[in-house]
């Protein structure tokens, strides 16, 4: 039986990827942020998953407006790196986990989550920056990945209830997979940030920290937070945080907080990071 052993949440700021790719992580601006991930890079060496289900959003990199799936799962053998306009990030391509991914997609569809199935997908910074933060700069990524893309760009995004609920269904689907795999689920994006309009640069760190507390302790309440409140309090792009609810839903009722980190700013963004484990495992 496969088992979800941990959940990781992290922001996925594109400039963080650029700083890594250009060797600028030791600069005064970046150093305090990257130091906050040292614990996690060591932790994951001892807790390397066989498969990571990475919940992320595409940023007009692979999906334009021709096709905009609300939830889409990548079932391919591998995923190439998108050119987001600056040329593709110089990171290894991402290895898929087709057997678990097809089981997951089928389970979720049968559970009434009408997922889009992706046999071809190129991934962008939303997925690769979290991998760089956790794994550094290896020649080959040390885990297989199932990308789960969520529309958070176009309103209406899925509701918080739907996100927590699909997370729970992911937890059940993984537990029903016959092979004994160590699986992690990652929720990416956020925290507060707004990268458009006269209000650009908005950061709301107290709100971010409360969101983390509620995600850990009261996800059943947090799920009802409306989109408008994310946008008002955490900025128009802060609505990405609904993806953390998917991660949380997959971990079960009670979790242990292994690690927490906040840092302002990275580019335009409040960086937040959590490592959680389900209580029955810890």
């Amino acid at each position: 039986m496969a088992k979800i052993t941990a959940g990781i949440a992290t922001s996925h700021v594109p400039a963080v990827g650029a700083a890594i790719d250009m060797g600028r992580t030791e600069e005064d601006y970046w150093k305090p942020m990257f130091e906050g991930y040292e614990f996690s890079k060591n932790w994951i060496k001892d807790n390397n998953p066989d498969v990571a289900i990475i919940v992320y959003n595409d940023h007009a990199s692979y999906f334009g407006m021709e096709i905009m799936p609300t939830f889409a799962v990548g079932v391919a053998e591998s995923f190439e790196i998108c050119d987001e306009g600056y040329g593709p990030r110089p990171v290894p391509s991402v290895e898929g986990a087709p057997e678990l991914a097809t089981h997951l997609a089928a389970s979720l569809i049968l559970d009434d989550f009408d997922l889009t199935v992706l046999n071809v997908l190129e991934v962008d910074h939303g997925l690769t920056v979290p991998m760089s933060l956790m794994f550094g700069t290896p020649d080959k990524w040390p885990t297989k990945v199932i990308p789960l893309a969520v529309n958070v760009v176009m309103y209406p995004q899925p509701s918080g209830e739907r996100c927590l609920s699909i997370g729970k269904a992911i937890g059940r689907a993984v537990a029903e997979f016959d092979e004994g795999l160590n699986v992690q689920i990652w929720g990416t994006g956020g925290m507060s940030h707004q990268i458009q309009g006269a209000r650009a640069g908005l950061i709301n760190l107290p709100w971010d920290q409360k969101f983390m507390d509620d995600l850990i302790n009261e996800p059943e309440v947090l799920q009802y937070k409306p989109h408008l409140e994310y946008m008002r309090e955490a900025g128009s792009e802060g609505v990405e945080l609904i993806m953390w609810l998917i991660m949380r839903g997959a971990l079960g009722d009670q979790v242990e907080e292994v690690y927490r980190f906040n840092h302002v700013p990275a580019s335009n963004t409040s960086v937040g990071h959590l490592i959680l484990t389900p209580k029955d495992v810890a």
Binding site: G64, I195, L202, L228, P265
Partner: protein
């Protein structure tokens, strides 16, 4: 559930990219997506007007691109992740491009970010600001 797009009107200095805005900006955002290819970035930068004329965009949208008026691009159906393809083509960062939509220059904007970002107090609602 009946969608309520008007609820976002109260957010100051913010343009929410709704499914309606996405319709309005479809061809414009398609143009942006074309800049994911290096050959198209080169063609665009070599002759912006000719490149823009290949797309079913409104003249207002084209002018907004030519003058790099990102707020106007948002107002006419653009979304910042699509717009990023325009400023990426020129090698500009998000901070450099995003700051142009505020009343600050890039140095002032960067200083604001380094001091903790824009404080939300006073920026929650147009009503609160007396703008509604």
């Amino acid at each position: 559930m009946k969608p309520d797009f008007d609820q976002f009107e109260d957010l100051p200095g913010t343009t929410i990219f709704t499914i309606e805005k996405a319709r309005e900006g479809f061809h414009f955002n398609e143009f942006c997506m074309s800049l994911r290819k290096e050959e198209n970035r080169k063609r665009f930068l070599a002759d912006e007007r000719s490149y823009l004329d290949e797309w079913e965009m409104t003249e207002d949208q084209k002018q907004a691109v030519l003058t790099r008026d990102f707020q106007k691009m948002l107002d006419s159906g653009g979304n910042v992740y699509f717009l990023s393809k325009i400023f990426a083509a020129e090698g500009l960062s998000y901070v450099q491009a995003v700051s142009t939509m505020t009343d600050m220059d890039v140095k002032e904007y960067q200083a604001m970010m380094l001091s903790g970002g824009r404080n939300i107090e006073g920026w929650r609602s147009k009503k609160e600001r007396g703008e509604a």
